[in-house]
Symmetry: C2
Subunit: 335 residues, 2 copies
């Protein structure tokens, strides 16, 4: 049988474990050109919160009764595709929260099935060598474009995207400054190359940030939104660039509660540029970016911390752990 986590109902406010229910279905048969994989890893990513919201989003969501969406790594157990054989390791955005998945390797764009490359941990294709790594790469190299010596502030700095972003910023000659929610996370950020860090739970966050960024913030890689966003915006340098990548701090709130200081005044005074990022727009750059990230890793310039929960039954718990910031590093589930 194939165990699956299906969406029971849309969350109202913060998601809870009751939003999903565990069900069973027969293991499916792959059709012509398809493969059947047994899941080995599930990836927990903040974008998945948007997929269980009833409102319109940039991608189709999960309806109640459907299998929860999510990326993962699996091993081929049956192949009707000439390029894939039993035992091959596959990474795909379209795995879903289930023990077995049928995939179409030739699907276009972000639905494509990717081969796990040799010489890296297989689950790296879900983190620094996958979608979060590409997000960090595109955000900095296409939107933020830090110049050597500039200050780059990254929120959720020890998270799946933030860890990579900090090290890319450093590789670009910039000065990465971490925002994270605990002193342990900040110590990790310093250990992997951040120049400084501030704790967003500090009562003196604005002053701490000013001390860490005495010449202001040239690039802000925003993974959280909310009050952290407001604090950094107030300290933008002239001609700053802001990458709006995530809003995990407020994504569980109804849209009409995401209220704060409007940005116009700061944007006019600083002539800053703010741009929303959805990495799937840049999927055509995936292979080139992954090659660059793999080179950084081989050169010892990319370190990465994971937070692994064991067992398929823990998928909802892992998701909620990430949503609340209790994870420390990229949140994964190992099946």
């Amino acid at each position: 049988m194939n165990r699956q986590w299906v969406l029971d109902h849309y969350p109202e406010g913060p998601a809870t474990e009751a939003c999903w229910r565990l069900t069973e279905a027969p293991v499916p048969e792959p059709g012509p050109g398809q493969i059947l994989v047994r899941l080995r890893w599930l990836s927990m990513d903040p974008y998945m919160r948007g997929r269980i919201a009833p409102g319109a989003n940039y991608a189709a969501g999960v309806a109640p009764g459907e299998v929860m969406q999510g990326g993962g790594v699996g091993q081929v157990v049956k192949s009707n595709h000439p390029d894939w054989a039993e035992g091959d390791l596959a990474e795909a955005m379209g795995m879903g929260w289930q023990e077995h998945a049928v995939l179409s390797p030739d699907a276009p764009g972000a639905a494509r099935v990717n081969r796990v490359p040799e010489g890296v941990p297989e689950q790296a294709t879900l983190s620094w060598l996958g979608m979060p790594g590409l997000t960090a790469w595109i955000g900095l190299t296409e939107i933020g474009c830090p110049k050597p010596g500039e200050t780059v502030v990254i929120s959720a700095a020890s998270g799946a995207v933030g860890q990579v972003a900090g090290q890319i910023a450093r590789a670009m000659g910039a000065r990465p400054v971490a925002i994270a929610g605990s002193d342990d996370k900040l110590a990790h950020c310093r250990a992997i190359g951040y120049a400084a860090g501030v704790n967003h739970r500090s009562a003196t966050l604005a002053e701490d940030l000013r001390a860490a960024c005495p010449e202001g913030v040239d690039v802000f890689f925003d993974n959280t939104g909310g009050a952290i966003h407001d604090t950094v915006l107030a300290q933008l340098a002239t001609h700053a660039r802001v990458i709006v990548c995530g809003r995990i701090a407020v994504v569980d709130k109804p849209a009409d509660q995401d209220i704060g200081l409007r940005a116009s005044s700061r944007l006019i005074v600083t002539r800053a540029r703010v741009q929303g990022l959805i990495v799937f727009d840049w999927w055509h750059k995936r292979e080139a970016a992954m090659a660059s990230l793999a080179r950084l890793w081989r050169d010892g310039k990319l370190q990465y911390r994971e937070d692994v929960l064991e067992g398929f039954e823990n998928a909802p718990a892992a998701f909620l752990r990430m949503m609340s910031g209790r994870n420390f590093g990229k949140q994964l589930v190992r099946l």
Copy 2:
């Protein structure tokens, strides 16, 4: 004697006439390389509100006791500069609210003194052939970059910048949609080439805007900020561009009262780009832009409405008229 309006005190909340006081000083003598001009026109522009706020801004402000800053057109009455003669007409940002001004024609950048060209109304150098026209030109050609057929929404659409922006958008093949505060203003916008218009005082502004922009807003030229900004942001199309040019709707409020819906969610979903514009950054493009605007005007593709108050003593009244939106077209004072 030289009558001058000096700042009496910084406004707290909305500016009032009491913020300035009328004084007299001897008519000054131009030094070497300088000219003395007698003012003929004063320009009233929203940026001037920022110059009488005590907080830091992108340019130095006016301290209490100093002559109010502002642009204008004047006639040379004494020249110590080889290129300027008595009777020449000069336009400059640095005139100030006074009947006579001493200027340094060779000053760099935005402080430069410009000759009023032949064949246009002299006060056009304060509006469509001057700083507001350049603002509209740069905002659309360098930041908004509308493509033919795209929808361009412009707030304060009948104002100094908005009138020009609408006609540039049309000249670029886009579809300009006006937001203004009265039906008279909207009728004027339609007459000069806007494709549609909505009244921001309507109780059904969001629905009206949706009807006027059925495919969403590709470019938003924001001159007002505030609730109008929020309404348009909620209707951005994918990959929209937002030019944050002004915030006259909220500029009289303390910064911590400019509160509203944060933009992150809309920016991520639409991957929109938002950029603050201060036209002085683009002063090196001034002559080329002015030549293009003059060509549009000669070709009959640029119409422009002015709102003229007579008499130097009415400078504060004219400024407050513009701040409140009671003006209809570019606000000027004729001396």
